[in-house]
């Protein structure tokens, strides 16, 4: 299709335009190939983000919504409000905790699957087992923690019947603890998959060589496996960071509304049609997440590693 279209294209006018024309002609298939993705990105990413940025500079009239008058008030309001800062701080706190926990879990699970399970079929089978929780919706996975952690829940009842505690532990549910548990449960797989993927591509003879050269088991992990899994770790971290930073639902449900997140500030604004301030908040969040992503990519050149 593309080739015949090029063949039939009318020749450019003038001999001096010749080389330019042929260069253009040879670029045409490339352009055609990138067009679909460009269009998708344009319509579903560039235009919406541009609109959000535009609206973030509009004025808000109470419960009516957007008034198209330029103002910086939304940004000033947000940045000078201690509430915004404490929400971001709390989100960052969760992000760091969840990142560390999911990394530790994800790394060892992937390590086990790749290097300890000799049989490929078994490894794939176990890998699929990791995805089993994803067969139900994440709302159900989250809500199902309630009967486990609740005051009259599984853990509290068990501990009480064993006589270990005499009053139910309140901090199990509707606390930072329960929020972290839910995040880890929901997001660990996003860490496992990319790390598994990069570990699977490590040449096993490298490990043997390291051992032959006198490396300890830990030495192998530290000096060989870890550096070669960098790409996977970076990608996994990116998933976990963006998912945690962008969440308001898990935090609202698992903290019983007692903790907030950066996104819950946006949600609250939307409840009262304060689209301008919500948009400004979204822009700030976008900048923060982009900065984190950039620093992750600074540490690991994912593109180079993937071409390895």
């Amino acid at each position: 299709m593309t080739a015949s279209a090029i063949d039939r294209a009318p020749p450019e006018t003038g001999a001096e335009a010749g080389p330019v024309a042929s260069a253009r002609r040879s670029l045409l298939p490339t352009y055609l190939q990138v067009t679909p993705l460009t269009l998708v990105l344009l319509f579903f990413f560039v235009i919406p983000v541009a609109l959000v940025i535009l609206v973030s500079f509009f004025r808000y009239q109470i419960l009516v919504g957007i008034v198209p008058e330029f103002t910086l008030k939304n940004y000033v309001d947000l940045l000078t409000n201690p509430t915004t800062w404490s929400l971001y701080l709390s989100t960052l706190k969760f992000t760091v905790i969840v990142l560390v926990v999911t990394f530790v879990l994800g790394f060892w699970i992937a390590y086990f699957l790749v290097f300890h399970v000799r049989n490929l079929i078994t490894a794939i089978g176990l890998f699929l087992v990791c995805t089993v929780p994803f067969w139900t919706s994440n709302i159900i996975r989250m809500i199902s923690w309630r009967p486990v952690l609740g005051r009259e829940g599984l853990i509290n009842t068990a501990l009480q019947q064993l006589g270990i505690i005499d009053r139910p532990l309140d901090w199990l549910l509707y606390s930072d603890f329960s929020v972290t548990i839910a995040y880890v449960h929901l997001f660990t797989l996003f860490m496992i998959v990319p790390i598994f993927n990069s570990m699977a591509r490590i040449d096993k003879s490298l490990l043997e060589a390291a051992v032959d050269a006198g490396a300890t088991r830990w030495g192998v992990i530290w000096n060989v496996v870890l550096p070669l899994s960098k790409t996977g770790i970076a990608l996994g971290a990116l998933f976990v960071v963006t998912l945690t930073m962008g969440d308001f639902f898990v935090v609202a449900v698992m903290s019983g509304g007692l903790s907030g997140s950066a996104t819950s500030g946006i949600f609250n604004d939307l409840q009262f049609l304060n689209y301008p301030r919500a948009a400004a908040n979204a822009v700030i969040l976008l900048i923060v997440v982009l900065l984190i992503s950039v620093s992750i990519f600074r540490l690991v050149d994912v593109r180079k590693e993937l071409l390895r």
Binding site: I62, L63, V64, G65, N81, P82, T83, S86, L87, S90, R146, P147, G150, R151, E152, D170, L173, Y174, A252, V253, G256, G257, L258, G260, S264, G265, N268, L270, Q271, F272, L273, N274
Partner: protein, 428 residues
């Protein structure tokens, strides 16, 4: 209905109820029209948009059946409704709004006032809305009381009129008076005041709703009842009053008083049913839902009175000709009884109670409206048993509730300040 497979059984039982409801078809409202007119009317579709608690698919289905033209129901949330009414008014025909929401959309001129002469039962509409009176007595004007926003000068007036005219802002719909929900088996004593929401003994076992405009009212009622503060107007607090109230909420939060802040109806049900919370803000159907699970739960009347709220059906400005006629037909049907009967089992009241009487059994009427003990089991609209014979409806009788409304749901002057402070409460 078997209790074990409640979750799966819900859809089925709902349909079963519908069939039952279909058997008691009301008066057909479209008789007497010339045939051509009736033919045209058949092609009309009326869109009724509002919040989930009053915009029920069953109502649309029954209306479509009784009226001969299509009535479709679409559900949104509070901000969503005002937003659509203002930004996209033509997407709605009949807007089912809360009283306080009229303060947003009436000045925008997106609705037309209702000609009360075209509402056949107008004189039967509860004086709560029409005259600001109930059982012969003045009803509280703290907050946005229905009477204050009831009338307009003319069809297109963009402000409210003090005192009755022939032009109504909306047709009064469903309403109720809310109070606190408690677990009588777990509170361990009698609960009689809003102050009990803050009582130290319920530390870690209390919850408040996380919807600022309503949550603040519960907080204000508790503040005043506990003697911590006296408000000039509970329905329209000053910045300073709001500041102090929210500071108290934050103080309680930091001390671990709140087990949770709930956002949705089902959260409030779960908190109560699981015993996480023993006293909290609650809506009437949530109490019904907890009871349907076989858990003891009481909608406790309190001595300081109730927090009232109400809805009404407003006609959008774009309606004219045959569509406007159809909309009026629908409004007349809405208060003609079927809706009142259906919604009563949900725990709400309808603006013309006496028509609802025809659609309720004597037992149900006595139970829901007159505060009499049930003579037989009471079931929810979906068919689950909510009360056994001999029980009295909690929350008080119809008359007791509305003669004791202390404050109405509202849009206060300092709403924007409230939202900012509430965010602080959330983040604290």
């Amino acid at each position: 209905m078997k209790k074990t497979d409640k979750l799966q059984g819900k859809g089925v039982s709902r349909r079963t109820v519908l069939k039952g409801g279909a058997a008691i078809v009301g008066a057909t409202a479209v008789t007497g029209f010339p045939t051509v007119w009736a033919q045209q009317l058949k092609d009309v579709t009326i869109n009724h948009t509002g919040m989930s608690y009053s915009v029920l698919a069953d109502i649309g289905r029954q209306a479509t059946k009784d009226l001969g033209f299509k009535v479709e129901m679409s559900v949104t949330d509070h901000p969503g409704l005002t937003n659509r009414m203002v930004q996209d008014p033509k997407s709605i025909d009949v807007a089912d709004s809360e009283i306080w929401q009229t303060k947003i959309y009436v000045p925008q001129g997106v609705t037309q006032a209702i000609d009360t002469r075209k509402i056949k039962l107008w004189d039967k509409v509860t004086p709560l809305y029409r005259e600001g009176k109930f059982a012969g007595k003045e009803v509280s004007r703290e907050g946005d009381s229905p009477y204050e926003i009831m009338y307009r000068e003319s069809k297109d007036a963009k402000s409210f009129h003090d005192g009755p005219t022939e032009w109504a802002t909306f047709l009064p719909g469903v309403y109720n008076a809310d109070t606190l929900g408690i677990r009588p088996d777990l509170v361990g004593r009698e609960i009689s005041s809003w102050a009990d929401l803050f009582a130290p003994e319920f530390k870690g076992k209390a919850a408040i709703q996380n919807i600022p405009t309503i949550g603040i009212m519960d907080a204000i009622m508790a503040m005043e009842a506990s003697g911590a503060m006296k408000y000039g107007d509970k329905g329209n607090p000053t910045r300073e009053e709001l500041d102090k109230t929210i500071s108290k909420l934050i103080e309680l939060k930091k001390a671990g008083h709140w087990r949770a802040l709930w956002n949705t109806f089902d959260e409030s049900v779960n908190l109560m049913a699981a015993g996480e919370v023993v006293i909290q803000s609650m809506w009437s159907p949530a109490v019904t839902a907890v009871k349907a699970q076989g858990v003891k739960c009481v909608y406790q009347p309190l001595k300081e009175g109730y927090r009232g709220w109400g809805n009404g059906l407003a006609l959008m400005s774009h309606l004219d000709g045959i569509k406007l006629d159809a909309a009026y037909e629908y409004l007349n049907w809405y208060i003609s009884g079927w809706v009142g009967g259906f919604i009563a089992k949900q725990g709400y009241y309808i603006s013309v109670p006496e028509t609802a009487k025809d659609y309720l059994t004597e037992n149900e009427w006595g139970f829901f409206y007159e505060g009499k003990p049930a003579t037989a089991d009471i079931t929810s609209p979906t068919g689950e048993k909510t009360n056994s014979a001999g029980e009295v409806r909690d929350g008080g009788s119809y008359e007791e509730r509305f003669s004791k409304v202390a404050v109405w749901n509202n849009l206060m002057d300092e709403a924007e300040f409230l939202f900012a402070k509430w965010n602080e409460f959330n983040a604290a």
